[in-house]
Amino acid sequence: MDLLIALIPALPLVGFLFAVLVGARLDRVPLHGHGDDHHADEPHADADHGDGHDAHDVDDSAFRSVPSEEEQRATSPHAGHADDLANAEGADGVIPADMSDGLGQAGHVAPGAERPRYRSWIVPTALVGLMWAFSMVVFANVIFGHNEYEVTIYEWIASGDFRIEISFLVDALTAMLLLVVSTVGFLVHIYSIGYMDGDRGFWRFFAYLNLFMFSMLLLILGDNFLMLYVGWEAVGFCSYALIGFWYKKPSAAGAAKKAFIVNRVGDLGFGLGIMMIWVNLGTLQFGEVFERIGTLDEGTITIIALLLFAGAVGKSAQFPLHVWLPDAMEGPTPVSALIHAATMVNAGVYLVARANPIFIESPAAMWTVAIIGVFTAIFAAAIALTQNDIKKVLAYSTVSQLAYMFFALGIGAWVAAIFHLVSHGFFKGLLFMGSGSVIHGAGGEQDMRYMGNLRAKMRWTYVTMVIGSLALAGIPIFSGFFSKDEILAEAFNRGYLLFYAVGTVVAFMTAFYTFRMIFMTFWGEWRGPKAVWDHIHESAPTMVAPLAILAVPTVLAGLVLGIPPEEGVIHTWLEDVFHEAEEAHAGVLPGSYLDGYIQKGEAHHFEIFGLGGLLLLVGAAVATAGVLLAYRWYVQRPGSAERFVDRIPLGFGPGMYEASVNKYYVDDIYQLVWARGGVLLSNALWWFDAKVIDGTVNGAGWLASTVGAGLRKVQTGRVENYGLGIAAGLVLVLLVLATVVR
């Protein structure tokens, strides 16, 4: 078993090394395979996608009328698919011209040229598949065998008191994450084979994916804060590299930088938090830290907890550091599904859950977590209501759902948070991959206003996405219903009525925007260009199969894990992990009206014909209402949304709508304060350097040459200045010493 656990992160690492060293040689992608390199000649090929819609129809004819399209289609069985991909990502400027050479080149290969070949996926994907199998064995052993594994590989750092072991801890919490990470990870690998086909960076993509898997596994398996941090930073780097995968596209490169920098803000806090743990406790090993944390005073614990939480806020994209996640959608869609929905963004939730013994010692920190969670949930949902980009809707929904988890963590509903994490990992991975399939099918279109009626042509994608949406919306029997309602019920039972109310409103909004997306995409009339409509077809089997597979846990996870509600089997599984946290405080924080009244054991039990059943009913009703409203506004009477906005009293409607579309201006404020401010600051520093420092050096040189002009026999050029600089420095050092030292 120990070997098996050690192999789990090792396999993707091997895959990464393989892809880096050998991958490039396995793929054969002609650099300039086709003579009619029409992308490169088109000035508008790089036009920004977002605001190019006015000229949409005009653009279309330009890039979609590849001269000998029919002929090429005939020459290659692969051509139709590849050509669509060219539309999907290459032709309309999603990928900049000179990177898309490989795209769709199956249809563009010059006669006699070698056919492209992609083999670099085989080994990485196979290794990840093996990793998945091992993970499942470990998962079964931990969950059903009630085992807990601690595997020490070796002592990584051993100097003085600072001893860090490379060791893995697999308890029920890790096992739950392992389930999500390895399953979604493996499926995304398969999905990517189809999705990335035709991309010149094919091997690079698989190299990054494997590196990401390795880092993510390190993050969840690590047995101490340092390993967690190492994995944390490494997934951050992979996220950066994958968001900017199409690095020649300015918006992608910008989004990658934004993600990296925003995350750094949080990571700085996380790093400082780890340092504080080390300084105060002298260990970073989870067990020891949690054992000794009680010896510190509450103020210190609060600072540590808040610093750790700062890292979580960055990584899990919570307000005010949520701005990077929607932009991260610039990356390829498999990346969005894997990193920005199902795995990496959960790291923050995992961190707080893992560090639960620290957080429960500090009510202030718990309150912060809960409040940030509740606020972000409604804030992000309010933005998602008005987004038109299909991936942006999902991105804000991810932010909002993660916020639910933090909200649950903050009120001490640990298991509910992890439950939602698992079910969200599956259904959001499904939704993102489905959206990739839609984008792929709709000729690269991401704007839902130019979609419609896709269910006629993409049955599998439609059905699976509806299943995912039902889960996200919280419709009964689907996984999201159980996990979300458990969070709300816990909030209610613990007496956070305001939180419960906000959470319920968010649930309504969620159901609305989810089905707004479904109806705009799959129902109604096709609103895009006619030429595109004719090309729409179901995606390749490698892309559809993962959707179908993910639909299974999306339907079943809730039924299996969540019944009976609030006491489902997942509670038994995770009991050991959160046992003490729930014991110690019975999940009740100061501020709850139940504070002091409720004791562990007296806690309320679920009754279907009681309060619990009522809460479930409310949840189901709210979700259904959201779906029905979306149906009425976007299917029955299109245009109702606009009328509704206009009807809001006092003329606030349009303003509120604008604010939501513009993400409540948070990005603009950051741009103004941080980015512009930074530029100003660096300009000022540059000025200082150019004028004052250089001026001083030059002035000193001028002084030297002027004073020394008569004496100098040999022209030594700048060396003299340097010498003078050293002498001046010497004088300065002496002066400082003379004044400072006494």
Binding site: I157, V719, V741
Partner: protein, 487 residues
């Protein structure tokens, strides 16, 4: 009897000196076509010296009337010197041959510099110390100007020589004042002479001159002026050596003078030292940010690394707790070793892309290296990650260890500045990676040098960088023993 014992104790030095003579002699008698033999010969000789180092490990003896000490600290410095020597010797020939730079002289001069570093590391007397310093730096000047037909090499060599001599004079002046104050040049006697609490104008002068002279040698801001010119001018693999070899020696000097002789006065020199540390880190990084030439970028970044290492010394000085002080010295030792390996190798990769003698190591040379030479690009990628300080490389651990020392010593603010600087450095290091993997090759890509020696050295260095990052334990325990000889 004593005499023979002394000779055995300095066996590594003797062997190294013999090796120099052997190289000179052999060079005379072999034909031009066979000059390449000098490289394996030198490496073999250095391995023998390394074996001798193993013999004298744990000797901890003072020889030659207290002028010279073979303690574990010195043995560690010497071992690091050997590592630097072997890597440098393997990397350089291919570059030198293309430019018709004589190999015999190169090997001999490089070995002389190594001998200087040996002496420097082992001095227990300021006179020996100065001797070692000169023996190390004189060959460095020569190495910089070794490419005689190249204007920049000449210019760099001359500047380095002029300014270096200036700094040596400053060091010597400081030493003489110290002698005047204490009546001795012996390091441990100075430490025991009760200087603390007797601050005077004279001591101030001694301290000031020593600080300026020695920080010049490690190229700390604002005494770094010579570095970019010298590094840019020198043949690239030699730049790699210059950026770590003399620096290692200079840190040995700093440790001997400030952490040993002037340790009682550390409260007095700490303040100015902190200022220099912050300046060095920050200015080195800021200027490196703007460089588009990788060679020059690495030159400036080596200044920044100097700053990081100085943090370790600052940690030593800022604490009264002996364990924490030892941690500071240990972090210096580990950083110097790790930095040496990764920096030489990084310069060497730049050199490998300068097979075409008109190339100056611009960023463009690296464009598309990922597809042109995956193994070399991967190696350079690892080196850049390590220089940035990303796990699991030695660079990460070196920084972490310095940080820990700083935090433990109560210099958390300095640790924060270091972290911010490291973040800044990520930008220019990772830019190289971006060029390698995300840019198409130039129309006429730079030819790549694929000589076996260089390839072996690169593989060794990268392996060293990764292995030291994954398993630093063994080396750290050696370092612990080494640092203990100071206390």
């Amino acid at each position: 009897m004593n005499y023979i014992n002394d000779l055995v104790t300095i066996l590594p030095e003797i062997l190294l000196a013999v090796l120099i003579l052997v190289i000179i002699t052999v060079d005379l008698f072999i034909s031009r076509a066979n000059k390449w033999l000098l490289t394996p010969l030198t490496v073999g000789g250095l391995i023998v010296v390394a074996a001798a180092l193993v013999v004298v490990w744990d000797t901890n003896e003072s020889v030659y009337a207290g002028m010279y000490v073979v303690d574990d600290l010195s043995v560690f410095f010497k071992a690091a010197t050997i590592v630097i020597g072997i890597i440098s010797v393997l990397f350089a020939p291919a570059y030198l041959v293309v430019r018709r730079i004589p190999l015999g002289e190169f090997h001999m001069i490089l070995l002389s510099a190594l001998l200087g570093m040996f002496v420097l590391a082992s001095s227990s007397d300021l006179i020996t110390l100065f001797l070692g310093l000169e023996l190390m730096t004189m060959p460095s000047y020569l190495l910089t100007g070794l490419h005689k037909t190249d204007r920049y090499s000449n210019e760099g060599g001359l500047k380095y020589f002029l300014l270096g001599s200036f700094a040596s004079a400053i060091v010597l002046f400081g030493i003489s004042w110290l002698y005047g104050l204490t009546g001795t040049t012996n390091i441990s006697e100075i430490a025991a002479s009760g200087l603390e609490g007797r601050m005077s104008g004279a001591l101030l002068v001694a301290l000031g001159f020593l600080i300026v002279g020695s920080t010049f040698k490690i190229a700390a801001v604002p005494f770094h002026y010579w570095t970019p010119d010298a590094y840019q001018g020198a043949p690239t693999p030699i730049t790699g050596f210059l950026s770590v070899g003399p620096k290692l020696g200079a840190f040995a000097l700093l440790v001997r003078v400030f952490a040993e002789a002037l340790a009682p006065l550390r409260a007095d020199w700490l303040g100015i030292f902190l200022v220099l540390t912050v300046l060095t880190m920050t200015i080195g990084n800021v200027v490196a940010l703007t460089q588009v030439n990788v060679k020059r970028m690495l030159a400036y970044s080596s200044i920044a690394h100097t700053g990081y290492i100085m943090v370790g010394l600052a940690a030593f000085a800022n604490t009264d707790d002996q364990a924490v002080a030892a941690q500071g010295i240990e972090s210096v030792l580990f950083y110097v070793l790790g930095y040496a390996i990764m920096n030489i190798a990084a310069f060497a990769v730049v050199g490998m892309l300068q097979r075409d003698t008109r190339r100056f190591g611009g960023l463009n040379s690296f464009a598309g290296l990922g597809s042109r030479s995956p193994a070399r690009a991967a190696a350079m990628g690892v080196l850049m990650l390590s220089l940035t300080g990303i796990p699991p490389t030695v660079g990460f651990f070196a920084k972490l260890y310095v940080l820990l020392a700083a935090v433990d010593a109560g210099l958390a603010w300095l640790a924060v500045i270091l972290v911010l600087n490291a973040a800044m450095a990520a930008f220019y290091y990772l830019r190289v990676v971006v060029y390698m993997y995300m840019r198409d090759p130039e129309d006429e890509p730079a030819p790549i040098d694929t000589s076996p020696f260089g390839t072996v050295a690169l593989a060794l260095s990268v392996a060293g960088v990764v292995i030291l990052g994954l398993f630093p334990g063994a080396v750290l325990s050696l370092i612990e023993v080494s640092a203990a000889s100071l206390f």
